[in-house]
Symmetry: C2
């Protein structure tokens, strides 16, 4: 693993956090990083719900089978996309754009000394419906995933999951 | 923009390249970085076709309306996902996982002093069909996007597209 790419290898899913709160400047940093991702035709269809309130976080966590850490984390995000703003109104571009933004957010968290984990929402209809109901989202706004963020209480080792079988050169 | 997040802000779409080839070690670095992305239930459904041969790159470029730079670039990728390996066989997870891997690949290119650009494929059926035909892809393998990579002949300035209107706190 090339040390110049250390951030990419050292970003790991972090699911346990200390009690230390996340500073407001860091929330802004994470959002700036997320919104530096590329998007199809630069339509930037993303929307971010920052979860600070403990009750709201607990409610969102209750919708996610793998999401209990969101109730313990000091900070969370619901990352949504607006189909009306996605390139050509296409769900595929919405998902691609929001996913690039989420990956940037996770990498930024790691670079700031925080830990984070991507919690799947789309395409699970119950999770989508619960989040739509809780936040009364506009009809065109689709939740894609949640992210839990905090100061890490575990430090998984850097890694790649490089698999030579997944690499083809010039032909399949 | 927090200087600790410089890589995320300085990664920009680079569409013009010098004639200098990309070293084989760097191709491996890019693939290791891409395959360090998170994926739903760690299913890693991605597949990477490395485009080295000029004729293959020119053919792929001809399928992409915004892709002529892929014929000039010394290196390209077709990033695909295998529906049979995606979590729950879901296209949504395939798109999310491959997009996180592509964003890692673009960030790695920047960190290595290279320039790269994401060229959309899915959900455009003509592009999907043309790539499937050229590479005779298995039925379950879906091309998501292409990436052109080279030594940059342009250096766009770092930026975020942070928009306060896209940020909501605890409620919509």
């Amino acid at each position: 693993m090339n040390p110049r790419l250390e951030t990419l290898f050292a970003r790991r899913s972090v699911r346990r956090y200390t009690d230390q709160p996340v500073a407001e400047e860091q929330v802004r940093d994470l959002l700036e990083a997320a919104m530096a991702a590329p998007s199809a035709c630069a339509r930037d269809p993303w929307e971010f719900i920052v979860l600070r309130d403990g009750e709201q976080r607990a409610k969102v966590a209750s919708f996610l089978p793998n999401g209990p850490m969101l109730a313990q984390a000091p900070l969370g995000f619901v990352v949504c996309g607006d189909l009306e703003r996605a390139h050509a109104g296409e769900l595929s571009y919405l998902l691609q754009d929001c996913s690039a933004a989420i990956e940037n957010l996770l990498l930024a968290a790691h670079s700031l000394g925080l830990g984070a984990v991507w919690l799947g929402v789309h395409p699970r209809q119950d999770r989508i419906d619960n989040l739509r109901g809780l936040f009364r989202l506009p009809a065109s706004v689709l939740p894609v995933a949640c992210v839990a963020v905090g100061h890490p209480a575990e430090r998984p080792a850097p890694r790649t999951r490089y698999a030579a079988a997944r690499v083809h050169t010039d032909r399949w």
